[in-house]
């Protein structure tokens, strides 16, 4: 594994301040309930996470993609711990680093993840996703039918919550609650499975 010097890896640096200026408004809009901003934010983060994790754990594509997905799920579920008065990139970097350490520890690897400037997370961007089977696929199979069909309606058919709820004959509110609970369950199950 190559270790970067403290600070930012030199060749591929986008100036960090631009990233902060781009992502922070997206995060604020996402916290205000803007789904489109949320999607843009997670997509942008996904690219940075992919290249950051690949640099740290090698390029085992499915392992990297698992970690990207787990981190995005955590960013989503823990977004209320971001303090709007503070910069966003250090928060995102701390989440990514925590997930990386947790991942390495679960696999009983020697853990040394230096605490660096948040810029290392945003030093490069790899938005090209490898198509792999991820842990999520396995976990989804364990979901009760009702929850899995809801997820599939929303995910594969791109239905809105309201449409999916109507299709299954439940209220939009309960579909919304079910989706949120399912996401939380996935986050927990990930840990329980991977010990």
């Amino acid at each position: 594994m190559r270790r970067w010097p403290r600070g930012i890896e030199p060749s591929t640096v986008e100036p960090k301040v631009d990233i902060e200026e781009r992502l922070r408004p997206l995060m604020n809009r996402s916290l205000a309930g803007d789904a489109d901003a949320h999607r843009q934010l997670l997509s942008a983060l996904g690219g940075h996470l992919r290249s950051y994790f690949a640099r740290r754990i090698g390029t085992g594509a499915s392992e990297v993609e698992d970690l990207v997905q787990e981190t995005l799920l955590a960013v989503h579920l823990k977004r209320d711990t971001y303090d709007r008065a503070l910069p966003f990139t250090p928060w995102a970097y701390a989440v990514a680093r925590y997930k990386l350490i947790d991942h390495l520890r679960r696999r009983h690897r020697r853990v040394h993840v230096p605490l660096e400037d948040a810029g290392v997370l945003f030093a490069a961007d790899d938005s090209e996703e490898r198509v792999v089977q991820t842990d999520l696929d396995r976990l989804l199979e364990r979901l009760p039918d009702r929850q899995r069909t809801l997820l599939e309606d929303v995910k594969l058919q791109g239905l809105s919550i309201e449409e999916a709820a109507r299709k299954r004959g439940v209220t939009a509110v309960s579909a919304r609650v079910m989706l949120h609970r399912t996401l939380k369950w996935l986050n927990r199950a990930w840990h329980d499975e991977n010990g």
Binding site: A32, H76, A94, E129
Partner: protein
């Protein structure tokens, strides 16, 4: 599942998110746990005659020691409860408060005649003081852990140790309503020991509970 699909899924789960979640959840934990502990002290142990006690400097010496320590520890927990914050000076302040109390107690012992030293140090209740503080800390600690689990501490072991410290210090503050001991040497030793035990127990139990 492809990551783009996951992101689309997550974007369906977006709602308005109120600000200040971390502070609110942690304060709620302190309040609920603190109420249980306060009830245990008032109903289970009974308060000493508070009107008389409140006129004594030693009563306020104890209250300010454990009260200030609670504040410093709670600020530490708050900062460690979310990603990307450093603990700041609060842990150092907590340490200074403890050292100051130990200094006060040591000074009292050194100034006392050798005949009264042991009495000052052990009081009448030294055997039960630390264990009671540890027990009284448990409800507060439990509620703080519940709050921390809903947040995102990236250094869980340290965060949960700080939660143990806050729980011990707040429990000791309420215990002071009951405990009639007056000597700084007593407080510096047995209160501090109970609080330290809560911190150690908190750290030992909590790190596994806090993964997210």
């Amino acid at each position: 599942m492809r990551t783009v699909d996951l992101i689309a899924l997550l974007a369906r789960d977006v709602r308005m998110t109120p600000a200040g979640a971390a502070t609110r959840k942690l304060l709620m934990g302190l309040a609920v746990g603190g109420a249980v502990t306060l009830a245990l002290v008032v109903l289970g142990l009974h308060c000493q005659p508070l009107e008389a006690a409140a006129r004594q400097p030693w009563f306020w010496m104890k209250a300010s020691y454990t009260g200030l320590l609670t504040v410093a520890a709670a600020i530490t927990v708050r900062r460690l409860a979310v990603p990307g914050r450093r603990p700041g000076i609060a842990p150092a302040v907590a340490l200074l408060i403890i050292l100051a109390m130990i200094g006060l107690g040591a000074g009292q012992i050194l100034a006392a005649s050798s005949a009264t030293r042991l009495d000052l140090w052990l009081g009448h209740t030294w055997k039960i003081c630390s264990p009671l503080i540890l027990l009284l800390a448990l409800p507060i600690y439990g509620c703080e852990v519940v709050a921390l689990r809903a947040l995102a501490p990236t250094r869980p072991a340290v965060a949960v140790a700080a939660a143990g410290l806050a729980a011990g210090a707040l429990a000791a503050t309420f215990y002071g309503l009951h405990c009639p001991e007056q000597a700084a040497a007593f407080v510096a030793t047995w209160y501090t020991l109970g609080i330290a035990a809560a911190t150690a127990l908190g750290a030992a139990l909590g790190a596994r509970l806090l993964r997210w």
